[in-house]
Every structure is written in C-alpha cells, then in structure tokens.
Amino acid sequence: MLLKSIYIENYKGFKHLVVPELGQVNLIWGTNNVGKSSLLEAISIYASEGSVEQIENVLNLRDEQFPKVMSPSTEENDDRLVDVLLHLVHNYSRDILEKGAFVIGESQDKDIIRFRLVKRYRGVKDNGQEIVTAAYNDAIDDTINDVYSAIEITNKEGKNYIRTNGRLSLPKNSSDDCKCIFVSSATKMFTGIGGLWSSISMTEMEGKIIEALRIIEPRIEKFNILLDESMRMTPFVFLEGDFDKRRLSTLGDGINRILRIVLALVNCKDGVLLVDEIEYGLHYSVQTKLWKIINQLAQQLNVQVFATTHSIDCIHSFARCAKDYGCMAFRLDNYDGEIEVQTYADADNLLYAVSENIELR
C-alpha cells in the first residue's frame, strides 16, 4: 500500500489536515464543496512525487493553467507564476505563499513534498555558474541581474524548480514514477483509452474488464477498443444474439463509467487510483457489484484506491463489502473554514450504521 497516512498543510481548503490511517480502498464523503476533490488532487500530487505534469493536470481540472508563452518581461512571467500558484494555496493567501506555500505527504516530518515560492539568480561564485536560491522575501543585492521567481519542489530525491517558460527542470526521478490515475466525474470519452487498453489487452486483465462490463450487460461476449470511422479509439462490444458489433456507448453512460474506472484500475499496479464521484450514473445494485470487483482487483494488483461520493447508496454498498477487505471510510467536515476528517475504521460499525439507518453523511 503506497500511502499509510495523509498530512497536508495549506493546500487549497486544507489549512492543516491529518488522516492518521488509510486502507487499501478508501471512500470519502462530505457535503458539496467541502474539499473531497481537492483531497484527491493533493493525493495525486504526492503519489506522482510532485511531478510538474501532475500539477499541470490538477490545474487543468479546474480550467487553470501554467502560462505557456513567455513574456519578454521577467516581472510579468513571475506574476503569472505566482498567480497560478495562488490557486493552489490555502485561502489564496500571498502571505502563506511567500512564507512557505504548501506541503503534502504522509506525516509532518517524513515522506513529504514541500512547495515553496523562491527567487533564483546566478551567483558570483564559479564565474557566475552557480544558481542561488533565496526565499521569496529575501532582499537581493541591486547589482545582481536576472532574478526570477520559481516554484521549488522538495521531495525525498531532492529539489526541482519550475518556471513558466517551458524550460522546466526535469524531475530527477522520471520513468519509475508511481502510477497514478485520476478518473474524474465527467463521463465524456477520455483520451489515452487506446494506450490503457493496449497495455492489458490479451492479458488476464482483459477478462476482468469484460467481467466488470457484464455487471450492467450480461450479454457481452466480446469487447475491444478499435478505430472508428473518425479514426478515434472507441470501445466496441459484441452481444450474444447480435449479428454485428456495436459501440459500447449504445449501452448507456453507466457502462462507460465502469469501463473508465476498471480500465484505469488495472493499469495502476502498485500505484494509486483516484475516482471522483464514483457512484455517478450507477444504480445501487450495480454499485454493490462494482465495489466487489474494485476490492478484488485492488488487492490482487496492490492498487490503493481513493474514491469520493455524495450518495448514501454508495456508502451502503461500500459498507457491505468493507468487512471482507481492508476498506476505510472518511467524512470531511468544514468547521468554520477548518476542514476536519472523521475516520470510520471499523467495518462492523459502518455496516451497523447503515443497517440502522444512522445518518453518516
């Protein structure tokens, strides 16, 4: 299991959040806008070890972006960088940004990634070869030119820096990255489906995908992802009794949702899967069967799963599985701007609450 616990400081709505214990499969609920999606984002940033790519993904989710085109004015670039980072910092606070930005990890002292706004410039040593990093608020000698702002990312491998000009320092750890996939609540056809399918097609996992799709349509005999007339990779199925294959989309949105979730899951071996609004488009009876498959695959492939929900049905169906697998459930609450987490570690208690109709949400 990748993450044993969660520790966040100053990331978005979280001033100081501690989740002391996590399970293999974790369900998080809470009222609208309490920070469920932000929590998933934070986990994705940590799981990808603070990779720039993941930060860009997170920004894209909310329609924000690192500016790609560099302005001739360093000051303007710096302002844009700060502007972007402000979107990720608690309360959009410049003060917090300049003093220490945010921290995401597993505990206060170790296994943590720090994000800090800094100033950088070429120092006088080594004929100006050395790049000096200073705290954002430090006073810098007037004689020094070309001072620019950057985001400093410190993880256990070391430090990396981001500027807004496309010339990003590459993370020191690249291809051995932890696999982390984020499935959002939108059900539109996702890019990369071809790649995800290719990596598991003709393996044991192909059978698991079909098994999952059969939760909704038991008559599926064959499944494949093929190029359609517009040259896009599209899921197709062949149903028992049909004469020709048909698009999976003809079977509704729910089955597409299941495909997205399970296809992502089987591609996350030893990694982390994040699913926002997992119940979206799925009937209660389907949710129960889906949880079972998710739990089995998570255990089999050592994937740590984090999902969010609004639905009481989803909590119920999750609770019914929780006993047989290492599942944990959490509720986020907002107490006057401070977000806190309530852990439901005991599967028995959760099931009891569900059977006695005790309100948990």
Binding site: R331, Y335, Y344, N349, Y352, E356, N357, I358, E359, L360
Partner: protein, 216 residues
C-alpha cells in the same frame, strides 16, 4: 426504519422504553422536537452513541435512557464515560445526579449536548418497569396484590419450568397488575393514556424535567 426528523435524539434500549416514553411525552404535551430511537439493546445504545458522536452536525443533542439493572447507576455512568474521548469524559461528574444528567461541552460544533437517565431513578437498581410502578397511585390495592402473588410464585419450589427470571421480577409484577385493570393486558404506554398511570406523579415529573432540560 423511521426517518429521523430532528437533530436531537433520545436513545433507548428497547421497544417498551420507546412506547412508554413516547406516550408519557404525549400525555404531558412535551414539545416534539426530538427523535426517539430504539437501539434494541444496551450495547446498541452505546454503539449508536459512538456513531452519532462522529456526526455532530446531525446529532446536536443526544439523550440516553438506560436501565440500571443489577448495577449501581454510577457503574453505568462510568461505562458511558469510558466510551467517550478523554476531553469530553473529563467534564462528566463521578456520580449520577438524582435529577438526571445533562452535560454541555464547550465546543458545541464538534460535540453534542449529552444527557443520561438511569432507570428507575438514577439512584437505585432496577429497570423501566420499576419506574412505571412509581406512576401507580398510592392507594391502588391491585399493586399490593401483585406484589403478594409474585412473592408466592417466587416461593414455589421446585421452580416451575419457564418461570420469569429473578431479574425480571418487576416486569412480572407490573404486567400482572395491568392484567387486572380495565382493560386487561393494556401495555405500559397505553396505561398512561387510559388513565391507569399518573403522568404527573413526582417520579414522572422528575423524568419529564430532565427531558425538558435536555431538549429545550
């Protein structure tokens, strides 16, 4: 399962408690601003307490009614304190007040008001039925008769097969009594509405006062 309407809850050990207390509240017109919940056992009450404490927004006031049974009410209070986190438990007293307990934590956002009543009267051993019998008018001959007969039955040796358990003596007594009233076999709750039990007796008033302090 009845849907919960209020953010104030009264947690009870069983159906008998539920019907009796609901009838009592109705007959003295106590404002209905709390949900009455049958937790099906004493353990169930504690379990529900634990779960409801984790959702303070939906459970702003939690009242518990437990039977003392053969234990000292102070023991029951201790059991409750052991189930609460240390900060909350520290504001609870060490012994049960005879008027019932109401504790208001400082942080009302994260913790509910907690109330505890231990049947029959927060002081003695016993159960709901002992409380019920305190609502019987003093001069009622039939309750003395019930006492006589229950004693006689207890004296039969060898013990008749399927005889009531010793701890349930009060149940045997009160239901015997109710078997001889008009109409025979009326349940304890309905006995209030039918005028057999007095909802304004001193013991009933104490309990109702506790409910008022807790929920209003």
């Amino acid at each position: 399962m009845k849907e919960e309407k209020f953010e104030k809850k009264l947690l009870l050990e069983g159906k008998d408690d539920l019907h009796f207390i609901a009838n009592l509240c109705q007959s003295i017109s106590l404002p209905e601003n709390f949900d009455v919940i049958d937790c099906k056992s004493c353990d169930g009450v504690f379990k529900q307490l634990e779960l409801r404490l984790s959702n303070p927004k939906m459970n702003r006031v939690l009242g518990l009614v437990l039977d003392a049974d053969a234990k000292n009410p102070t023991d029951r209070l201790l059991s409750l304190k052991n189930r609460l986190n240390k900060d909350i438990a520290s504001i609870f007293p060490d012994i049960m007040p005879e008027d019932g307990l109401v504790v208001t934590p400082a942080d009302r956002k994260r913790f509910p008001i907690i109330g505890l009543w231990i049947m029959p009267d927060n002081i003695h051993h016993g159960m709901l039925e002992d409380f019920v019998m305190k609502l019987i008018p003093n001069n009622d001959l039939l309750i003395s008769k019930a006492e006589e007969i229950v004693t006689d039955i207890e004296r039969i040796s060898p013990r008749p097969a399927g005889r009531f358990k010793d701890v349930h003596r009060s149940k045997a007594k009160v239901h015997s009594y109710l078997a001889w009233k008009d109409e025979p076999g009326v349940p304890m709750g309905q006995a209030i509405t039918k005028g057999i039990l007095d909802p304004h007796s001193e013991s009933a008033n104490k309990f109702v006062d506790w409910l008022s302090r807790l929920f209003n």
